[in-house]
Symmetry: C2
Subunit: 347 residues, 2 copies
């Protein structure tokens, strides 16, 4: 895999007219993203299966909600809503974090209650407020469809499908969702023209004022839990406790996983409660409650200009064509007796 | 365009190793689909803009429902639900017809109330039971996004966006959604090996028993309105009146647009009320109420085998990457005061 990556980087460098010396990494607290390169054909097949599952709304009770509904790959891997819409339009408890580059997170969910992407993927399927299905039913749907059975057999070598395979394949697909070649990465790799003066000034301020203490590493975040409201309490309507809900340790109250800032221009609104509608709001609030710092409008604008350079190349995907249900496939149940009856539409 | 089509057919024929003689059309009441070929670069640009709009949930009040939600191009251009889910999980009045090959329909909607795809496209956006937005707000959202403004200017040559441009671009994209090269089309074009004996027997029965009287032409339907329940009344819970709702003529009661049978294997469930869950059910009911004919299980199986040969090549699309909202973009309103407040999730 290392050799393949180097080959790819060489190829990309050649295509972009970049000499090898320019791919050298600056000594910064943020590192450039490497493009995803599958280990082998088996990895490619597993991710392709996971991609179909990611887009398949038949993993929900209603037949209408897929992973892509709330982590929409056309929209930065989020739904761009304050909180997501679940089965029967239930209001989700928290802002949907981006799936992009999420394989780099130290744990999954805002409170870190899933250790990895595979464990995460099973959550929403069975959550009655989200996809409202069960793992058993999801497997039964997939197992009824010969094209899925064949694909699972090809990847896992078994005649029966289980939920571990389903979540493993989804996680394998999600790990492909990295977004290299942001302008900031080009700059990190030595391209002095990639950033303008304001963006560079914004980055220096981002570093100098302490943002980078938490938003660092390859994902510019995602690698620690931090208290929301260090210097000043964060005011929110959200009842979420964060890590305390997992550890039951009061010291972890309001600790949340630091979100990645990659593609942050695309992943609005911000914070676990989705309360910050704009990057300007997010920067101002973070500065105040985390760093005790009142950024001037110019400073905020500079940091925002820098943050927008973190938008990378979005996943280059074909819209998957899903294998059809057949007479053996359990049918979705979008409505129940309590839902209103259909009425005629306007002529 | 004719010349380009011929060139493409020649190219395709060459690729598939088919000689030109084999592209000759059999003399049948169903004609093969020609692949979509854009007239020029302007047509390609318009369809590309329309594709983005088709996938953009910001054309809905909630920010969560796009054209693709109910006419999902991963699933035969439908949602595979009895009736669709609208804003706030409202139950739609009617089964969502496929968008695939819909440019060939004599009119749009089951009751034909829109004369063409452009007129259709405006309907769901402003329908309070569907996307629940308004044309004004949809335009305001798009107009706030520089990438959309540039794309509209490139296509329509104007600095301002209007709803006619929006629906024209969506319709232009939808017209590209044709599904050529079904096995039945290969047979029509002279490939004797494309169908097996059962499928051929099914087609002969489809013709001989009268199905083809309504399901004919290039789209195998879509070119007439017919009464649902000619020989025997159709029993349904649906209050839909069909064409009568448009013409106010009682003679048009229960007349619906004959649906295309192309890709019918993918477009379950069937009928305007979505009441037929399987192709076998649909064939049996149609035979009885439209033709006064009780198909044997073997006959039904033969017709179903034929119908499954109508699945064509599905659209080969890249998942579009949507331009982000910015500080000037009106934000979606997925929830209102009457919706439940968020509660903490399980730890």
């Amino acid at each position: 895999m290392k050799a393949r990556q180097s080959l790819l980087i060489l190829t990309l460098a050649a295509c972009a007219g970049i000499t090898l010396a320019e791919t050298a990494v600056r000594n910064e607290p943020i590192q450039p993203l490497a493009p995803y390169v599958p280990a082998d054909a088996a990895a490619t097949a597993k991710a392709a299966l996971g991609e179909k599952l990611y887009f398949d709304p038949r993993l929900s009770k209603s037949g209408a909600i897929s992973c892509n509904t709330c982590h929409n790959l056309s929209m930065g891997g989020t739904d761009n809503l304050t909180s997501s819409i679940g089965d029967h339009w239930q209001r989700g408890p928290i802002n949907a974090p981006t799936v992009l580059n999420s394989g780099m997170n130290l744990a999954q969910f805002w409170d870190g209650r899933a250790k990895d992407l595979q464990e995460q993927a099973g959550g929403p399927i069975a959550n009655p407020k989200e996809m409202a299905f069960s793992h058993e039913l999801a497997v039964r749907v997939l197992d009824s469809i010969p094209q899925y059975r064949d694909a699972f057999k090809g990847v896992y070598g078994k005649d029966t499908i289980d939920i571990q395979m389903v979540t493993d394949a989804i996680a394998a697909f999600e790990k492909t969702l990295v977004t290299p070649d942001s302008r900031f990465d080009l700059w990190l790799k030595g391209d002095d023209t990639a950033l303008n003066d304001q963006e560079l000034k914004g980055y220096q301020l981002f570093k100098g004022s302490g943002c980078v203490a938490c938003h660092n590493g390859t994902a510019v975040g995602g690698n620690s839990f931090q208290k929301m409201g260090v210097v000043e309490a964060y005011k929110t309507d959200s009842p979420e406790l964060g890590l305390e809900g997992v550890t039951k340790d009061e010291a972890d109250r309001f600790k949340f996983k630091v979100p990645t800032l990659r593609n942050v221009e695309l992943t609005y609104p911000y914070f676990h409660d989705g309360a910050a509608k704009t990057l300007e709001d997010a920067v101002a609030i973070m500065g105040r409650i985390q760093l005790g710092r009142q950024f001037t409008p110019d400073e905020t604008a500079d940091i925002v200009a820098f943050l927008k350079t973190l938008t990378g190349t979005q996943p280059d995907l074909k819209l998957p064509i899903l294998p059809p249900s057949n007479n053996d496939t359990p049918r979705p149940e979008p409505f129940n007796a309590a839902d209103s009856e259909p009425r005629p539409q306007n002529g």
